[in-house]
Symmetry: C2
C-alpha cells in the first residue's frame, strides 16, 4: 500500500492527473506537482481549489520547482515529499532520469510515453529495448514497480489488446489501433500536445508490426477510412507509435498497427514544415550567428496546447479494431472509448486529448495505492490485469465500449472476475 | 565623366553587376566589390576571371570586407578606392547609410530596391518619401547623382512607363506591371532573392494606385490571368511594389498596379508560413531563452538564392500593359522583356531573376560614366531619358519588345532620337 504522489510535469496532462489525484487524495495522500516552471504548478493548484476538487479538503497539495533531467534533485524531492508514487508526465526526455530516481528511492514509477533522446528520431525497434527495458532486471531486483506507457495510447489500448486476446478470441490475426480526434480547437493550426514531441512521431520512419516482423513505411504513405462510433467516417494514417514496441513483444499477434487520424489541412501544414526543414531537431546557423533548432522555433510560434482547452469542442474516439477467430469462426470487435472535449474541460480544465492521456495515469496510481497493480517490477500495461483498470476508468471518466456486429456495449467486470484476475 | 565603380553586395545581383561592369571596364575603370562576407566577393572575382569577362585584362578588380550599415566605413572605402560610382545591391536595409556616404564623398549612387527599416513592414505610401526622398534637396544642393530603383522592377519598368506615356499615348488610363518568372529551380521551395526581403513584399498591406489614390488590399486577394509572349497563360496577383511609389507621383496616370506571378504551390507554402507566424520580423522567445526572428530562421533553412542558378531553366517575362487613347482611339500595348535563366547563367553565373535586376544597374553605371545619366540630383528612373537606357540594354542582354495587336517588335532609338533626348 503505497501513498503520497509526486506528479512531474505541469502541462495539459499534468493538469488532468493532478485534478484526478486530488479527487482521490483520501487514498493517495499528499499530492505534489513539480515542473521547471513552478508557476504552471501553482496555476494547476489554483484550478484544483477553484473546482473544489480535493476530496480531503485538508490534504497536502504543493508545488515544486524541479529540473527532472537532474536525477539527484528528483531523488531529493521524492525523499523530501515522502512520495511513494511518481507519475511522470513531463517531457519525454526525462523518463530515464526520473526512473533512476525512483529506483534509488523505491518509489513506484508511472509514465505515459516512451523515453526519447532529444538528438535522435525514430530509433531501432522495439523502442522500449533502447532505454526503459535496460532497467527491467534492476527494477525486479529492487522490487520497484514501474508501469510504462500508461496514458491512453500507449496505455489503455494495451489493456484493450490484452482484453481482446484473452477474452474475445482464440486466435488474433490483427490489432489496428485507431486514434481519432474529431474535435476542433478553432485555431489555424495547433498540436494537441507538445509540438516538439508530437512532430517527432511523424518525421522519421513509420514502424509497424506486420506478419510477425517490423515493417518500415513513410508517413502518410498508407491510410484507411473507417466508420466509427459517434465520430463517423474518419481517415487515419499508418503511424509509428510506442505501444507497437511492447505489444509486438508480449502478445502472439502477427499484425499490430497504429493509425492516427489527420485532416488534409494538418497534413498540408505538416508537409510544408517538414519539407522546408522546419521540423528538424538539428540546429541551423542564422546570418547573425545564432544556432537555432527549427523545431523549437516552430513550437514557440504555435499555440500552447494547454491554451486550446477552453474553446475545444467535439469528441475523440480511440480504440482497437481486433480481428481473429473464436470457436472456429472469424470474429471482429472494436474496443474503444469516446471522450468529449467540453466535458473534459468542465471537469478538469483540460481538453480531451490531455484528458484521455491523464486519467489512465491517475488510475494506475490509484491501483498501485490499492496494491492491485503494485507489482514490484517493470511492466507495460498489457502485462497487468486489465479488469480493475477498465472498471476503475469506467467510474472516473473513460468508459470502455465494445462494438460487435454494429452493437455497442459497456465493458465491465464482475467482482468474481476481479477476484479471479487478482 | 565619372569612373571607378564600387559594387556593394555580393549576392546573385552583385554577381551580375560585377560581371557586366567587368565587361565594360575600359569605360568604367577600376571595379571593387564589397560585402560583409569577403569570400562571396572573392568567389565573384574568381568567376569573372574564369569567364575571362574583364574587357581590359589589366584592369583593377578587388574584393573588400565592408559593413555597409556603417556610413563612416563606407565613406572610407569610397575614398580609398577612388570610386566615383557606387552600385548598392546589398541588403535593402543599407540604402540610407550608403547614400549618405555617397553624399559625403560626391560619388554617384545607384540602387535597385527601396530602403527598408528591418523593424517595419509596408509603411505609409509613397514609400520613397519615408527615406530616400528626404535626401533629394541635399543631393541637388551637393550635385550628387542618385538613381533610385534601377533594377528591372523597379527600374526598367519605370522607363517603360515613361516610354509609353511619352510616345504611344495621348492619355494613359492604366499601367499594369506584370512580373512572371516561368522558370523552374527544381527545389521544393525557394525564393529567387533574399527571402527576408522577398517575403516582406507580401506580408503587409498591398498598396496600389487606383483612380488617382492609394488603395489597400490583402495579398492574394486580387488576381489576373494574361496570355503573355513566350511564357503563355500566366496568373499574377496584385502585389505592393516599389515602383508604384514613384510612378504615381511622377506620371499623370490614374491607375498603376503591380502584379506578380505565383504558382499555387508557392502560395500554399507562403500561406502556411505566414499564418503560423514564421514570416514575422518580430523576435519570439524559445523555451531555452533564445530570442529568434522567425523570418531569419526561414531564410536559414531555405536554399541560398544564388545556389539555384546552375539548375534553373525557363524564362522570365516582365513588362507593362498600358491602356489609354491615342489620336482619339483606344490603344493597348505591352512593353516587355523576356530573359532566359540558362543563358543568364552561361553568361554571368546567375539565374534570370538576378540577371534582370543586375543588368539595368550596370547599365546605369555605364550611362553615368558616359555622362548621359550623370544628372547631379536624386531621380527615379522615369525621370531620366529612357532612350539611351533601352538602347544600351538591347545591346547588353535585356532587349525591349513591344506587343500591339498580337505583333511583337524590338524597341530601339535612332541616333537622332538619342540626340533629341540628351
Amino acid at each position: 500500500m503505497k501513498k503520497n504522489v509526486l506528479i512531474i510535469g505541469a502541462g495539459g496532462v499534468g493538469q488532468v492527473v493532478a485534478h484526478k489525484c486530488a479527487q482521490h487524495n483520501r487514498l493517495l495522500g499528499d499530492i505534489h506537482i513539480a515542473s521547471r516552471n513552478i508557476n504552471k504548478c501553482l496555476a494547476i493548484i489554483d484550478s484544483i481549489h477553484e473546482k473544489g476538487a480535493l476530496q480531503n479538503r485538508k490534504g497536502v497539495l504543493k508545488a515544486h520547482r524541479l529540473d527532472a533531467m537532474d536525477t539527484h534533485a528528483t531523488r531529493e524531492l521524492i525523499e523530501a515529499t515522502g512520495a511513494q508514487i511518481v507519475i511522470n508526465v513531463g517531457h519525454a526526455f526525462v523518463n530515464m532520469s526520473v526512473l533512476q530516481a525512483c529506483i534509488e528511492t523505491g518509489a513506484a514509477y508511472i509514465d505515459t510515453a516512451i523515453h526519447e533522446d532529444p538528438t535522435k528520431i525514430c530509433e531501432t525497434p522495439p523502442w522500449y529495448a533502447n532505454y526503459e527495458w535496460k532497467r527491467k532486471a534492476l527494477c525486479a531486483e529492487k522490487g520497484v514497480t514501474a508501469i510504462l506507457g500508461c496514458g491512453f495510447d500507449p496505455g489503455v489500448v494495451n489493456a484493450y489488446a490484452a482484453l481482446a486476446v484473452r477474452e474475445y478470441f482464440d486466435q488474433v490475426d490483427s490489432i489496428d489501433i485507431i486514434d481519432i480526434n474529431a474535435g476542433s480547437h478553432g485555431k489555424y493550426f495547433a498540436t494537441n500536445f507538445n509540438p516538439e514531441i508530437n512532430f517527432r512521431e511523424f518525421t522519421g520512419q513509420v514502424w509497424s508490426w506486420q506478419d510477425g516482423q517490423w515493417k518500415s513505411n513513410k508517413m502518410f504513405e498508407v491510410k484507411r477510412t473507417d466508420d466509427l462510433p459517434v465520430v463517423g467516417q474518419q481517415t487515419a494514417y499508418l503511424t509509428g507509435h510506442d505501444e507497437l514496441h511492447s505489444l509486438s513483444q508480449h502478445l502472439d499477434v502477427p499484425n499490430i498497427r497504429f493509425w492516427m487520424g489527420f485532416g488534409e489541412h494538418y497534413i498540408n501544414v505538416f508537409t510544408v514544415l517538414r519539407n522546408l526543414g522546419l521540423l528538424s531537431e538539428k540546429p541551423v546557423r542564422l546570418d547573425n550567428g545564432q544556432e537555432v533548432v527549427p523545431l523549437q522555433l516552430v513550437k514557440a510560434v504555435l499555440p500552447d496546447p494547454a491554451s486550446l482547452a477552453p474553446s475545444y469542442v467535439g469528441k475523440t474516439c480511440i480504440g482497437n479494431i481486433v480481428k481473429g477467430t473464436k470457436d472456429g469462426k472469424p470474429r471482429e470487435v472494436f474496443v474503444y472509448n469516446v471522450a468529449d472535449h467540453v466535458e473534459a474541460y468542465a471537469e478538469v480544465g483540460s481538453q480531451g486529448i490531455s484528458y484521455t492521456a491523464g486519467i489512465p495515469a491517475a488510475a494506475a496510481a490509484i491501483l498501485i495505492a490499492q496494491g492491485v497493480w503494485d507489482v514490484r517490477k517493470m511492466v507495460n500495461v498489457e502485462e497487468l490485469p486489465y479488469q480493475p483498470f477498465i472498471n476503475l476508468m469506467n467510474d472516473i471518466g473513460l468508459p470502455t465500449q465494445i462494438r460487435e456486429n454494429g452493437e455497442d456495449a459497456l465493458v465491465s467486470f464482475s467482482d468474481e472476475a476481479l477476484a479471479a484476475a487478482a
